[in-house]
Symmetry: D4
Amino acid sequence: MNKSDVRRLLESVKDGRMGIEEASKQIEDLPYKDLGFAKVDNHREIRVGYPEVVYCAGKTVKQVKDTIQFMLTKENNILATRANEEMYQAVKEICPEAGYNSLGRVITIRKREEPLTDSYIAIVAAGTSDLPVVEEAAETASLLGNRVEKIVDVGVAGIHRLFSKMEVIRGAKVVIVVAGMEGALASVIGGLVDKPVIAVPTSVGYGANFGGLAALLSMLNSCAGGVSVVNIDNGFGAAYNASIINKL
Amino acid sequence: MNKSDVRRLLESVKDGRMGIEEASKQIEDLPYKDLGFAKVDNHREIRVGYPEVVYCAGKTVKQVKDTIQFMLTKENNILATRANEEMYQAVKEICPEAGYNSLGRVITIRKREEPLTDSYIAIVAAGTSDLPVVEEAAETASLLGNRVEKIVDVGVAGIHRLFSKMEVIRGAKVVIVVAGMEGALASVIGGLVDKPVIAVPTSVGYGANFGGLAALLSMLNSCAGGVSVVNIDNGFGAAYNASIINKL
Amino acid sequence: MNKSDVRRLLESVKDGRMGIEEASKQIEDLPYKDLGFAKVDNHREIRVGYPEVVYCAGKTVKQVKDTIQFMLTKENNILATRANEEMYQAVKEICPEAGYNSLGRVITIRKREEPLTDSYIAIVAAGTSDLPVVEEAAETASLLGNRVEKIVDVGVAGIHRLFSKMEVIRGAKVVIVVAGMEGALASVIGGLVDKPVIAVPTSVGYGANFGGLAALLSMLNSCAGGVSVVNIDNGFGAAYNASIINKL
Amino acid sequence: MNKSDVRRLLESVKDGRMGIEEASKQIEDLPYKDLGFAKVDNHREIRVGYPEVVYCAGKTVKQVKDTIQFMLTKENNILATRANEEMYQAVKEICPEAGYNSLGRVITIRKREEPLTDSYIAIVAAGTSDLPVVEEAAETASLLGNRVEKIVDVGVAGIHRLFSKMEVIRGAKVVIVVAGMEGALASVIGGLVDKPVIAVPTSVGYGANFGGLAALLSMLNSCAGGVSVVNIDNGFGAAYNASIINKL
Amino acid sequence: MNKSDVRRLLESVKDGRMGIEEASKQIEDLPYKDLGFAKVDNHREIRVGYPEVVYCAGKTVKQVKDTIQFMLTKENNILATRANEEMYQAVKEICPEAGYNSLGRVITIRKREEPLTDSYIAIVAAGTSDLPVVEEAAETASLLGNRVEKIVDVGVAGIHRLFSKMEVIRGAKVVIVVAGMEGALASVIGGLVDKPVIAVPTSVGYGANFGGLAALLSMLNSCAGGVSVVNIDNGFGAAYNASIINKL
Amino acid sequence: MNKSDVRRLLESVKDGRMGIEEASKQIEDLPYKDLGFAKVDNHREIRVGYPEVVYCAGKTVKQVKDTIQFMLTKENNILATRANEEMYQAVKEICPEAGYNSLGRVITIRKREEPLTDSYIAIVAAGTSDLPVVEEAAETASLLGNRVEKIVDVGVAGIHRLFSKMEVIRGAKVVIVVAGMEGALASVIGGLVDKPVIAVPTSVGYGANFGGLAALLSMLNSCAGGVSVVNIDNGFGAAYNASIINKL
Amino acid sequence: MNKSDVRRLLESVKDGRMGIEEASKQIEDLPYKDLGFAKVDNHREIRVGYPEVVYCAGKTVKQVKDTIQFMLTKENNILATRANEEMYQAVKEICPEAGYNSLGRVITIRKREEPLTDSYIAIVAAGTSDLPVVEEAAETASLLGNRVEKIVDVGVAGIHRLFSKMEVIRGAKVVIVVAGMEGALASVIGGLVDKPVIAVPTSVGYGANFGGLAALLSMLNSCAGGVSVVNIDNGFGAAYNASIINKL
Amino acid sequence: MNKSDVRRLLESVKDGRMGIEEASKQIEDLPYKDLGFAKVDNHREIRVGYPEVVYCAGKTVKQVKDTIQFMLTKENNILATRANEEMYQAVKEICPEAGYNSLGRVITIRKREEPLTDSYIAIVAAGTSDLPVVEEAAETASLLGNRVEKIVDVGVAGIHRLFSKMEVIRGAKVVIVVAGMEGALASVIGGLVDKPVIAVPTSVGYGANFGGLAALLSMLNSCAGGVSVVNIDNGFGAAYNASIINKL
C-alpha cells in the first residue's frame, strides 16, 4: 500500500464509499504490509505449501507432540527434525499417517502433495556414515517440493567412484555436498561443476576432527569457487537453502 | 565399455558393419564422457567470457605482473584480487586500460564487455568498515556480468535503516550480506527475504572478534533458513557464488 | 570510623567516659568496618531478604539436602539452582513448602514474601529451547523481589514477532536477553531500547555452536551499545545482576 | 497511535474536520511510530545531548575527517574512538576546539556542556598498562554527562592497595572494572560491592593471555554475582553501558 | 589422442593396416592410462591380498554385519576397526572363524594367510593406557602382512626403560610411536633412530590434554627430524602408512 | 665410577684380587650409574617409602586389581588415583586394610607409616565443589609423608573468609591453591604469601569455563609472582610437586 | 596485635602512660597488621633487598624512565623486564651504573650486592633460540640473590647431550626448564631428577606451535611428577618462583 | 657389547692378552655404545654426508654467520633454513660458494657432492603460493642426496591438471604434498597412489584458514590411507622425513 493507495482509501472514507470499520482494519494492517515482512509471515508460516518445521532436539516428547497437535489444525505440511523414535510414536498417536525416516531422524506429515520441481537437487555424500545428514536433507528438500537425487559413498579417497557419478551431479540445478573427516569432497565437486554447491560438514570422524570442525574449516577455505557452507550436520538448512535456489 | 566391447566394435569397423563416423564418436566419448570433467575445463578456463582470476596476496609485484602479462595473451577479462597500489602500477605499465578499485583492492581488465543480467545481486553491508569486502564482491560480480545493487551501513543496531531498504533487497535474485562484529545482519535479512542469502563474515571488529571468528560462527548458526556462508572477508567467493545463482 | 573518631574514642577512654571493654570491642571491629567488606557480609549473607543460594551441579543429593537443612535455621529465602527432581524430593522431605520449577531446575523456599519492585525486569528469549535459562532467571529475579515480564520466542528470524512485543520490552527498567544459536537477538534489542541489556548466551544449538560459544562471541561483539554479557546458560547471574540494577 | 486513534482520525476525515493531505501524512508515519523504533532514532541520533560516535579503527584519516565534518553540521557532541594522532590533527583543522586524549586515543568535541550526574561511575583498573582502556571509558562516560572517579593500579597481587580505595568504589552507582592478565580484579570487586559491575578484559599480558582471552574467560566465569562483561579492550562499550545505568 | 587420431586408427583397422589386437590395446588404454587412477582401483580394492576395511564407529550392528556379509563373497581378508563386542558376536554368526581383539576393538577375518615381511614395524607406546591404539595398529599391520614388534610402557618419565629397548626399536624398518598426555616420546625416539617415525597421539590424559590435542601439537612440533603424525588415536592409519613404507 | 675406578677394577682382575664374575657385574651396572638415572630408578620406584602410584582412569577393574596385587609383593605404600568404588571393592578383596577416600577417588594402602614432616602443605580451595581435587591432593601429600592443612570455601567472592584463614596459610612451607570457575584465588593468595604457590585449576563451572580452561588460563596469567600451575584437576600432581618442595 | 594487646594499649591510654597521638597512630595501623597483608607490603615492596620490578612491555620510554627515576629514590635493587635498547639508553642517563642484558631484554640496577645462596638454580634450555627467556630468568634469579647455573642446547632430539649435563642439573635445589617447540624436555628432566621442576614454555617454533601453545599444553600434561608450569616466555616468573623455593 | 663380550674382555685382561689401557678405553665407551645413542651421534652429526642444519628464524645475522663459520671447519654440507637475504650476504662473505634459494629462504653450502638416489621424491603443490615451502623441501631433499621432481599448481579445484601429472607422481618412491587453504590435495593424492604421502599444510590462505590450521586439520583427518602430516610450512621436516624413506 503506497502513498496513493492511502490517499484513495481516505477519499473513499470521505466519500462514504468505504465504512470506517473496513478502513480502520486496512490501516491497522499497514505496519506489516508496508515494511514488507508480513510477506515473510505469509510466505513462510501461513501460505499453504510451506511446511511447518519443528526442531525437536532438546524438547521433551510431550512438547513435540503438543506442538505438532497445534500445527495439525492448519493446512500445512509438517516437518519435525532431530526427532527420535519415541517422539515419532507419540506423534503417530495423534496423526497415524505421519511418516518417519529413522536414519534422518525426521518426522513428516504430508497434508497435501505438492507437484515436484522439474529440476532436481543432487545430494552427494562422501561416506555411508554421512547418511543421517543426507536423509535429513533429502526429506526436507522433498517435503519442500523438490526432486532429489542422492549419490552416496563417493569420497575423494577413491575418486573414480565420484567420476562415474558426475553425469547425475552435473545435471542438478544445485548440489548439496555432505562430508565429514577432511571434507575435501566439496572442493573437488566445486571444481567440477558450475552449479551452486552447498557444503554440509558432518561430525563424522574422530580425534582432530573436533566434532566436525576440520570439515567445516576445510569447506570454508575451499579453493574452488561456488562453494558456500552451512552449519555442521545441518542437512535441513542445506536443503532449505537449496530449495530456494532450485525454485528461482 | 570393456575389452570385448572394444574388440567387437573394431571388428564391426573392419567388417564394414559400422561406419567410421559412428565408431569414432563412440570412442571419443570414452575418456571424457565417462568421467565428465572435460566440460569444466572448457567452461572455466577456456570459454571466453569467464575472467581469469589472480589472487595477489603473498605474491610479489613481479609475479603478479608476469601472470597478468601471460593472461593478456588470451581474450578473457582479468580480475586480480587482494592487489595493492604498487601491483596496480606495475600492471598499468603493460595494460594502460586496467582499472583499480583501491578500497576493494581489485584490478580489473575488461577485454570484452558482457551484457549484464536483468536480475541483480544485492550486496548488503552492516557498516562502512565492511566496504573493502563489499567492493571486492561488487567488482567481481560486475566483471562476471551481473547487475549489482549495494546497500551499506544498515547494521542491526539501527534496524529501521535496514527496513527502509528492504524493497531493493527483496527485489534481488540473490543477496550477499557482509558483516563483521557479531554478524547478526545475516540472520535478520535471512528472516526477511526468501531469496538465497550468502553471508560473508568480515574481520572488522576487535578483541573477542578473533579476526572474524565471531561473525563466522554467528552466521553459521543463523536461526534463519536460506543462509549459507563463505570464508571471512571472502568477497570474491561470495560474488562468484552469487553469480552462478543469478545466472541459473 | 575515621581518624577523629579514633581520637575521640581514645579520649573517652582516657576520660573514663567509656570502659575498656567497650572500647576494645569497637576497635576489634575496625578491620572489617573500615575496609567495608563487613557490609558485604551483612548485606549478602546475613541481612534478611537476600536469599541463600546453592549451586547444585556437581553436588550429591545428600550435600544439597544438608546444605539447605542448615540454611533453614536462618530466616532467609533459599534458592537452589541446577537442582534435579531427585534433589527437590529430598528437600521437600525437610521443607514441604519448597517449590520446584522443573524447567528452570530451581528449588525455591520462601520464608518471607518480599514486596515486589514497581519497575520490572523484561526477560526476552529467542526460542522455546531457551526456556530453561529463562525460568532460572525468572525464578531468581522473582525471589530477589523483582517484578518480571517474560517474552519468549521472538528470535530474529521472524523479526515482526519481536516488534509486536517492543512495548513491554521498552517498559522495563532492565532487559535480559536470552538466546542461543547465533545470539543476534541481543544486538537487535540493544539497538531498539535505551535500557541496560544483559545478554545470556545459551548452549542451544549444535555443530559450530560449540556449546554456546557462537552466541557468546556474538553477544560480546554486539554492534549495539548498552549490551553486556554473562556466562553461557547463566540465567541466575543475569537475574542477580538485573536485580541490582532494577533496585538502584 | 492505537486502534481508537485510527478510528477517530478516519471519522475526522469523513466529517471533513481533517484534510486528506494531513491524514495521509499521519498514516504514513504509522509504521515507525507504532513499532516504536522511531524513538530509538530520535533518542540516539537526533536528540541533542547524545554524542555522535565514530569508530576510527580501520578508517583512513580522510574518512574520519569527512565523517566528523558532516557531524559538525548538527548540534551534538562528537566522540571519535580509536583515533590516532594524525586523525586528531586532521580534525583539528576543521574544528580547532576538538580535544584529544592520546592515551585513550579519543577525540572529543563538546558543542554543548551537559550538567553532570550527581551519582558517579567508578572506573577501577588493575595496572597502569590498562590506562588506555580506562581513558577511553572515562572520556566516553564524561562526554555522556557522567561524573567519573578513576582508581588505577589496584590489582589483586597487592590487594591492600584495593582495600584502601574501597570507600570511593562503594560510593559509585555503577563500577567499571578494567583488567588484563588474569582479570581476577572483577571477581574480587564483585564480591565487595553490591552495585552493578561491568568488567572490561584488556589485551594486556602475553603468552597464554591470547590477546585478552584469559581475562575475558576469567570475567565470564566470575564466581561473584553482579558482574557482566563487555568485549576485550572495549572501554567505550563499558562506559556507554554504565552511563545508561547511572542515569536510570 | 584427438578426434583425427581416432579416425585414423579406425581407418587403419578398416583397411587392415592395423590388427584388432593392437588397436584394441590402444583404445583400452585411453580412459585410464591417460588419467592413471585405474591402478588405484585395481590395487586397493580388487587385487586379492589387500584387506577390505570397515570403520564401525557410528554404524549399527546390522550395518556392520551386512557390510561384512557382502565382503565375505570376495576373497580378501577383512578388517573391521572400532568394532564393539556386540558387532563381533553378530559377525561371528555369519563367519565363525572371525577373530576379535577386544582391547584394540578390531575384528579380523583371514581368508588367506599372507607371508610376513622380513623387516618389521616397531610399535612403541608410552603407557599401558595407550594399549587400545597399539592393538589396533598391530592387528592392522599384521593383517597387511607385516611382522610387528610391540614395546609398551616406555614413557619418557622413566627414560631408562626406553633405553633398554632401543636395540629392538632400532632394528625396525619403520617405527610407530603411540603416546598420549604430552606425547614427548615421539621426539625422544625421533632423536634416537634414523628410521621413519610415525607418531600417533592418543586421547589418553585429562584436563588440558583436550582429548589428545596436547599430544598432537607436541608431535607436530617435534624438534626431532623424521617424525610425521597421524590423527589422534588413529592406530589403523599409522599401521597402514607403516605397512606401505615397510614394503617399499 | 670414573676412569680411575675402571682402571683399578681392571687391575684387580688382572691381579686376581677380583673374580671375573664380580667385575662383570660391576661393569654391567655402569650405564645406569654413570648416566645417573639409576638413582631415579632407585629413588622413585625401588626405595621403600615412596609409594607406588596407579592412575586408574581408563583401566578396567581387573587391570587395577592385578596391578595392585603385583605391587603388594613389594614393601612400598600404594596410591591409586581416579579409582571408583567398584575398583576399591576389588582391591579390598586382596588387601582388606586398603583405605578409600570416595570424594577424592583415591585408594591408599599403607604398608609402613612414615614420620610426617614438621612443616606442612596448605591446601586452599575456593569452593566445596573443588573438594574432590582437594582430597586427591591431601591423600597424596599425606601418603608421601607430609603434614597437611586444608582450608576450603574461601573463594574471592567473599574475600573476608579468606583473610580469616591467612594465618594458617602463611604458616605453610608450600601452598596448593585449588579453584575452578575464574580461578582468581591463586592470584590473590600469590599476592599475600611469599611461599611457593602451586595452582590447580579445576573443571568446576560451566559454559565459557570450557572444562577448566578459564581457570587454567587465569592462573597461568597470574599477576602475582610465585605462582606455578599444574594440569586441570591434577590434585595428585600438585601434591607430588608440593611434597618435593616441602622436603627440600 | 591481638585482643590483649588492644586492651593493654587502652589501659596505657587510660593510665596516661601513652599519649593519644601515639595510641591513635598504632590503632590506625591495625587493619593492615591484623589482616596480615601488611607483611606482604613490607616484604615485597618495602624491605630492602627485594628488587623493584618494572614490566616495560606496552610502556613508553618515558614511562619506564619516570618509573625508574622514582624507584631510584629508594634503596632497593631494580629490575626492568621486556626493556628495549632505547629504554635502556634513557635509564642510563639517570643511572649510569644500570646494566643491560640485550638478549634477555632486562635492565638491572644493583644498589646493594646481596650475598648469593649456597644452593643454586639450574636453568636448562632446549635450544639456542630459547636464550632470551633463559637470560631473563637468569638475570632475575641473580638479582634476587641466587646462584645460577645455565645449561643450554640440550633438547631431546639429541638426548645424549642432556645426559652429559645431568650431574649439574641434579645438583641444583630447583630446576627451571625452558623449551619451545614440543617442550618435551620438561618431561624428560622431570623423570630424571627429584627436585622441583618449573617449566617455561617458549614461543619458539612456528605453525602448529601457535605461539607457544604446543609447548604449554605439553608441559601441563607432563607424565613426569614434580613439574609445574608458568606462562609462555615468562622467564621472570619462573625465576621469581624458583628463588622462593631456593631460599626455603 | 653384551654380557659374554664383557666376560671375554675381562678374561683377556686377566690372561694378559689385552692391556689395561685398551680395556679401559673399551669399557669407557660402553654407556654410549650399549645404549646405542652414540650411533645417532655418529650418524646425524659426525658422519660425513649428512648436512649440518641451522634454523635461522629468530636468530640474528651475526648468530647465523658465527654458527656457519664454525660448521665450515667440518667436512659436512650445510643447510640454513628460514634465512633472509641479509643472512645470505653475511654467509657469502665467509663462504663465497654458498648458494641461496630466495623463494625457499634456504642457504646451501655443498662441501662434497653426494651421488643422487635412483628413486625420487615427488613434491606436489596445490598452488604457486605454496612455492616457498616447495623450495625449502626441494633444497633439503636435494642436499640430502635425493633426486626430486616438483609438480606445482595442481590443486583440486581443477583436478584434471592433477591427473595429467599422475604418471610422474606415481613413479616416486615417496610423495610430499604441499597445500594450504583446505588442503584437500593430500586426500586426493593419498587415494590415487600407494606410496607413503607426507602432507605439509601451508599457511597460505586467510580468514578461517587460521594460519594453516584448516589445512592441518584437513590433512590429519584425511580419509585416504597412507597420509601422515608434518607441521605447518615445514618443508624441511617433510623432506628430511622423505629422505629417510627414500633411502630405505
